[in-house]
């Protein structure tokens, strides 16, 4: 039954894995606290010389253990915190190996410590691969299309008749459909566009070229053109980029290539059909 529910975080399989991860989290927490609070005792237990350097290294390792543990408790179904434990184990093993060669006072104890850590590493890696597996299977699939909509305060027949003249480029962005809004609330224009990849989206947002944002802006302009006959400008928005809200210089040219509808087209249209006042546009 569970497998039918997409996005369910804890399937029987995943549950076992995250339970193991949680157990390891507790182990790490316990060890971390010991390392932080009693570095001297622990150093003696693993047979390593206990100078200030060892004590501070021990404390740092303790803080790392606690951070990994906290990560696991916060997100038991996520693999990254478990893998962070494996990385930590590798550091521990490297340091223990180094200690065995240079500063071990009880080599036998140090070897036992290395074997124990190696065992834990194996367990951590096993848990990591298990959690990774269930995470991979149950991660929500990214939707590959996104539907952007806007409501225009006009009957659907008016929108269908007039939309091409004001929004001929909108169809290039994606599939355009219309549906009447309930209760005589006008017409809903829906634009289905292909979702960009995560990377493309991040880049687009930084450079103001994100297709979703651009399409959304275009829809808003189509609404303004249908309802008002023109695109609304403010003193700042009429120029590209950030500007103070002050009147633009006299020689300003309205941005011609912005989005689907150009200001030139607006003027052309206004000249040919001498745009009616809004009251007359209304049916």
């Amino acid at each position: 039954m569970h497998s039918e529910i997409i996005n369910h975080r804890e399937t029987p399989d995943g549950k076992g894995a995250s339970q193991l991860a949680r157990g390891l989290g507790w182990l790490g927490m316990g060890l971390g606290i010991t390392e932080l609070a009693a570095p001297r005792t622990l150093a003696r237990a693993i047979g390593v010389e206990c100078d200030p350097g060892t004590r501070w290294t021990m404390r740092a390792l303790g803080a790392r253990e606690i951070a990994s543990g906290a990560g696991i408790f916060a997100r038991p179904a996520m693999a990254a915190p478990v893998w962070s434990r494996v990385a930590g184990d590798a550091i521990d093993l490297a340091l223990l190996g180094y200690a065995l060669r240079t500063r071990s006072v009880h080599p036998r104890r140090t070897v036992v410590a290395i074997l124990l850590v190696a065992g834990v590493t194996a367990l951590d890696a096993y848990a990591g691969s298990k959690v990774s597996g269930s995470e991979h299977r149950h991660r929500p699939r990214r939707r590959d299309t996104r539907v952007l909509t806007v409501t225009v305060n006009l009957p659907i027949t008016d929108v269908q008749r007039r939309w091409r003249e004001v929004a001929r480029d909108l169809a290039k962005r994606g599939n355009v459909t219309f549906r009447p809004a309930p209760g005589g609330r006008g017409t809903e224009i829906c634009l289905a566009i292909k979702s960009p990849s995560r990377l493309a989206q991040m880049f687009g947002r930084l450079t103001h070229t994100d297709v979703e944002q651009l399409a959304d802006g275009d829809l808003r302009k189509v609404k303004q053109l249908l309802e008002l006959g023109e695109i609304v400008h403010s003193d700042a928005s009429v120029r590209r980029g950030l500007h103070a809200a002050q009147p633009p210089e006299r020689d300003l040219h309205l941005p011609e290539s912005e989005g689907a509808i150009t200001a030139g087209e607006v003027r052309e249209r206004a000249e040919t059909e001498s745009v009616e006042s809004p009251q007359e546009v209304r049916p």
Binding site: N153, L228, V232, D235, A245, E249, Q279
Partner: protein, 390 residues
């Protein structure tokens, strides 16, 4: 032309900027004859409103003479004397048709910014940040007024600028605050904040027939004006009394039938709560200090109405939702739909129901705007309302 520009936190200067021009066919250019500094301009002045840019022209309370109109403006001509409402509204979207002009769907060219913060975008506003459209404001010699055939109201010559100027914002805002209270005969209304909007809320509650009007502030001169000029029946100074206890005592333990928050995001107070909000606001962890709003909610009678016309900038903390829920309170709020109140309130002014000039304490030239801001923010010289003239 000269214009009042926001140059940074607590830094307002008169700058020379280009003259405005017609950008849309429903625009008009208005030569400003009178403009005022609004309490909400102080939120900009104090740097609490996001998306301001250095050089933004301030001002959303203004009136003047039409000097130029766009191709599609049929109801105005050069020479007409108009008061301009502060929300910019297109007049033909679904919101405007419903009379919710401050929620116009078309007038904010930066709607995408507002949508990220508020979910949906409200109308554009003159001189009030880029999130609200990036429109140049009216504390200038000239201003471009979009949708001039929808908002601006022609005013009769026999009324002076000062008598009609406040139709642009604070009088309708105060009136809407009182109207949202559904005042019935015998009602007691409590009003937090006796600044200009609070004074008009008090005067409006009186016009709408409230029996008792309790005004709350900390400045004696403001409380005095509330009593002597606006029509409050009682006043409370929250630095002298515990407001919740006092209101209970005055209303037989019931609480006021409706409460109006005419304070907004920069409320003052005392005690732990004030220190908490002030600290969080300074650390940018909370944009608003909603002390008045919290108190209004706790004070309101069971089943009463809390009406909010003070301006808020973002999310508020420690909101007493259990009181709203368990005591069946109605929370109403809004930027004023000025366009729908201008004509009826102009009629009231003409009939003599109210003389809005009572709140003016300082008259200055446009050049003195920086001094006006400084006086208003520090409440120097019992400053209540600064009017700037050309």
């Amino acid at each position: 032309m000269r214009a009042t520009c926001w140059m940074g936190k607590r830094d307002v200067r008169i700058e020379h900027v280009p003259d405005p021009q017609i950008l849309n066919s429903h625009d008009a250019i208005v030569k400003v004859t009178s403009t005022a500094i609004c309490g909400s301009d102080l939120h900009l002045y104090n740097g609490f409103v996001p998306t301001m840019e250095k050089g933004d022209i301030l001002g959303h309370e203004f009136m003047g003479e039409v000097v130029e109109v766009g191709r599609n403006v049929r109801n105005l001509k050069p020479g007409d004397r108009v008061v301009v409402p502060f929300p910019i509204a297109c007049g033909c979207c679904a919101m405007c048709e419903d009379g919710l002009y401050a929620c116009c769907e078309n007038s904010n060219p930066n709607a995408f910014i507002a949508e990220k913060v508020m979910g949906h975008s409200p109308a554009g506003i003159f001189g009030y940040s880029h999130m609200m459209g990036g429109f140049a404001g009216g504390q200038a010699e000239y201003v471009r007024v979009p949708f001039a055939d929808v908002g601006p109201l022609k005013v009769p010559d026999h009324l002076s600028d000062e008598e009609v100027l406040f139709l642009s914002d604070i009088f309708p805002t105060g009136y809407m605050g009182a109207e949202m209270c559904n005042i019935k005969p015998g009602d007691t209304i409590a009003i937090w904040g006796c600044g200009p909007v609070g004074q008009f809320a008090i005067a409006s509650a009186r016009m709408l027939g409230a029996e008792r009007i309790i005004a709350i502030d900390r400045f004696p001169y403001r409380l005095r004006m509330a009593r002597e000029r606006a029509g409050a029946t009682e006043t409370l100074n929250y630095e002298e009394v515990d407001v919740l206890d006092a209101l209970k005592e005055m209303t037989g333990g019931r609480g006021p039938d409706a409460c109006i928050d005419a304070v907004g995001m920069e409320a003052h107070g005392h005690g732990v709560q004030y220190v908490y909000d002030r600290t969080k606001q300074l650390a940018k962890l909370e944009p608003d200090r909603p002390l008045a709003l919290r108190e209004a909610i706790l004070a309101c009678r069971n089943g009463g109405i809390v009406s909010v016309v003070g301006v808020y900038g973002g999310y508020v903390d420690k909101f007493p939702m259990n009181a709203v829920l368990n005591r069946y309170l109605t929370l109403r709020a809004g930027q004023c739909h000025v366009q729908r109140y201008m004509k009826p309130l102009l009629d009231r002014i003409e009939r003599g129901d109210i003389d809005p000039t009572f709140i003016i304490t300082h008259r200055m030239k446009l050049e003195d705007a920086p001094r006006g801001y400084d006086m208003f923010v520090h409440k120097q010289d019992e400053c209540m309302k600064v009017v700037l003239s050309a």
